[in-house]
Amino acid sequence: MSVRLDQPDRPWMMRTYAGHSTAAKSNELYRRNLAKGQTGLSVAFDLPTQTGYDPDHELARGEVGKVGVPIAHRGDMATLMDGIPLDRMNTSMTINATAAWLLALYVVTAQEQGVEEGALAGTTQNDIIKEFLARGTYAFPPGPSMRLIADMVAYTVTRIPKWNPINICSYHLQEAGATPVQEIAYSLSNAIAVLDAVRERVDQELMGPVFGRISFFVNAGVRFVEEHAKLRAMGQLWDQIGRERYGVDDPKHLRFRYGVQVNSLGLTEQQPENNVQRIVLEALAVTLGRSARARAIQLPAWNEALGLPRPWDQQWSLRIQQVLAFETDLLEYPDIFEGSKVMDGLVAELVEGARAEMAVVAEHGGAVEAVPYMKAALVDSHRERIRRIEAGEQTVVGLNKYTETEDSPLTADAEGGILVVDPAVEAEQRAAVEEWRSQRDASDVERALAELRRVADSEENIMEATIAAARAGVTTGEWAQALRDVFGSYRAPTGVGDAAGEGASDDLEEIREEVERVSEALGRRVKILVGKPGLDGHSNGAEQIAVRARDAGLDVVYEGIRLTPAQIAASALQEGVHVVGLSILSGSHRELIPSVIEALREAGVDVPVVVGGIIPEADVEPLKSAGVAAVYTPKDFDLSKIMRDIVGLVGEGAKASA
């Protein structure tokens, strides 16, 4: 074997996960990023778009344009892609429940540009199982959701052959606390569920190309040697699944293709500059070995634990990729781990562990049926991770070790080194969608929606009717509502009820005693409501607080994600809780938290409210003056301390009313 390649490899596709405020602002950002050497687009949609609500829906409040771009209709998509030739672009869209709809808008936009759908290349994330497990932007029940995915696969495999209709995500599983074995096992089980569903809707001879179109979206943490082994293990298992389960034998179809966004969970708010080296090392995990190298990479920004990244922060991450690809010698060699006993041994361990875990999922009846099992397992793993960090068994530099620091000049500006979305954006978008509705041909829209409902209720493929609706000017909210009418709505399991209880520790015993004391004073057990207002589905934080509160001896009402202020207030009143804990990671806290407090006080509930999430320092005081008793951010990793605070707040209340 030659130690050098005849020709250095072409680099992977370089993207930046981007989009915010409005379609026009995001378009401007995309064009600048492409000019800087980015080679593909990665569209971040805002939460209303991801969950199928228009900007003027009650649940959209505070979320419009926050974590991504709002796309309410084909006009928005045309603005977003203005001046970007879609026949030469490779566009990845982080879109799941509403993937069929966004693909339809993309197709219509391309056609308006004079580009045929067959020429389009890109990816729709479209992995609904991980939304139920970890990310929370689902819209329909599992059965119909799987059907929409199968419809898209069946449609694109013949009509848009260069499209990856689904990107099976292990990424979010790791963000939710998955171990490498869980990440492999659950994502591959998920892929099997999708392929099984598609198999019922396409001819057997198409299964090779279908299998070949399934790509993955993975994560890589800072333990980069094991993480690289993980990717090799996934490749091995994938090949085996293709051959044995689906009878695929073309090596081209059997290749394990993946894109990656490296880990955000491990990024810290303290000494945030350290995140840069974490990101670099994680990038190595997915590039070092040629036989398991990523096809596309997007890196998070150094300041993600602080808030939304600015264009400059994202440029820094793009430059990391460019240095790796163009300055180092990485791309000049064959696989550097070939024949490595250590690497092979690690891979074998992971393959064995993942097989065993996949068997458990299969015993539950497959990934769809095993969602509650997997969810509870993830909550458990995440709890263990937090415990290890709290106990100092796992070192996180700057967080639980080497915490002495100079002030960071990176966060010294007025906004604290993050992007602040103009609050006027939401009002503008509300007005814009109303304007759009008034300009359309209402009878076209009605016809398109009626047809969409008919098809949804039949066995026919949803794509044609969806593209027709996009063309007729239907909005995102209308499309999703038509399907909700037919499919019904759904709430995913929270996983917290089944999470294992924590054993005894001095810390916990001390809190339990305090809980008993306060409960005695109150006459009944301290009761907390843990709520997630808004559309943000990142429920890890809320789940961990809920589980720890139970372990501390509290009665915990946890209601899952996506609640309106009115729902939270009604629950707090009816449940008679002593304290309310709210979690928001989407940046909508400035709007939503005051509305929740207002709703609580209107309902006559006068209990302390605490807030946790990605809350920039500058927002802490405004929240406190709105009536919040305490604010917790990612730097507050010590859950026991948070529990002591909360019980203390309730205790003060008990004393005051005694």
């Binding site: 509650p372 709430r491 924590e502 509160a549 509290l554």
Partner: protein, 328 residues
């Protein structure tokens, strides 16, 4: 019962006021009434509240229909309750749901998760959902749940007590509820086996969920009906419900519940329920020694049967204590 609360004065005033509002069917009094009922330090006030909504005070049984709903995890209880709440509200009936979850033995805490699964309109004042921890009693009811159901039945048209499990919890639910519904998941033989083996009493209504599963659900329903026939309980309705659109069976279920309630000698069933509750409370407070002083369980029940049927639980407990000559 604890004697910590003052016997009269302002707090009793609170109990009286809450009771009056419940009697007037003022649903906004319910959360505060539940906070009081759950308060272990306020036994006397709770007693006063319950006395004020007892049949003896009202002149009739509280009008609300107390429905116990029980079934194993994953059987579809929450979806069923969402559909029932919607249908009841559609009929203009007010509904309170008391959801009982197990507590952790280790910490005493609990995760009250089921609430997340029952869909309701937060602006609708005619629905109340309250989750309670069972407080260490496996498969059992929270001590305050019986009292809560009795109090809320004065104000709400329907009071649902939801518990998890099959084989144990419905026995305790049966002591409080007018009508007991057991949910059976098709494909799982639990309920069927328990009924056949006599571990579980025949419930008033059986529901087979997930009727959208087709043949599996049909078979489950057939097996249950056959088992009921062999036990001579051929009148017991078995209703198949699908809560996935298109929803089916919910109206039949409501008709079955109403039918059972109409066929019931309500005062007799409720009086028996209060006697059982009183004996359980007495036993919890005074243990085996107290029970021996009453001459055993049967003698105690005979004694209770001689008391006026409309008396509230707390008064019955007092009578038992007087008879056993133990200090309250």
């Amino acid at each position: 019962m604890s004697a910590e609360g003052p016997p009269f004065g302002e707090p009793i005033g609170e109990a009286a006021e809450l009771a009056a509002r419940l009697r007037d069917r003022d649903l906004s009094a319910a959360p505060a009434a539940l906070n009081l009922i759950e308060n272990r330090a306020k036994g006397d006030e709770v007693g006063a509240l319950l006395r004020a909504v007892s049949p003896a005070a009202l002149g009739a049984e509280p009008p609300g229909h107390i429905v116990g709903v029980t079934g194993p995890p994953g059987a579809g209880k929450s979806s069923l309750l969402s559909a029932l709440v919607r249908a009841w509200r559609g009929d203009g009936r007010t509904v309170a749901v008391l959801a009982v979850d197990p507590s952790s033995k280790r910490s005493g805490g609990s995760l009250l998760g089921d609430r997340a699964r029952i869909e309701f309109d937060p602006a609708d004042r005619g629905v109340l959902i309250r989750s309670t921890a069972a407080g260490g009693r496996l498969g059992g009811l929270a001590p305050a749940t019986r009292a809560a159901a009795q109090a809320l039945s004065a104000a709400f048209d329907v009071v649902v007590i939801e518990t998890v499990g099959v084989g144990q919890s419905e026995t305790e639910v049966a002591e409080v509820a007018d009508t007991v519904v057991v949910i059976v998941q098709p494909g799982s033989g639990d309920a069927l086996q328990f009924i056949k083996a006599g571990i579980m009493e025949v419930p008033d209504v059986l529901v087979v969920t997930k009727a959208d599963l087709g043949d599996v659900a049909l078979r489950a329903r057939r097996d249950l009906s056959a088992a009921l026939r062999s036990l001579g309980a051929r009148e017991t309705p078995v209703v198949a419900v699908s809560t996935i659109a298109p929803t089916t069976g919910v109206n039949e279920l409501i008709a079955a519940l109403d039918g059972h309630r109409a066929s019931l000698d309500l005062p007799a069933r409720r009086a028996e329920s209060r006697r059982t509750s009183a004996l359980a409370d007495f036993a919890a407070e005074h243990g085996d020694r107290g029970m021996r002083a009453l001459g055993g369980r049967r003698a105690a029940l005979r004694f209770l049967a001689e008391q006026e049927p409309g008396l509230d639980v707390a008064t019955l407990v007092e009578r038992l204590e007087q008879r056993a000559e133990v200090a309250p």
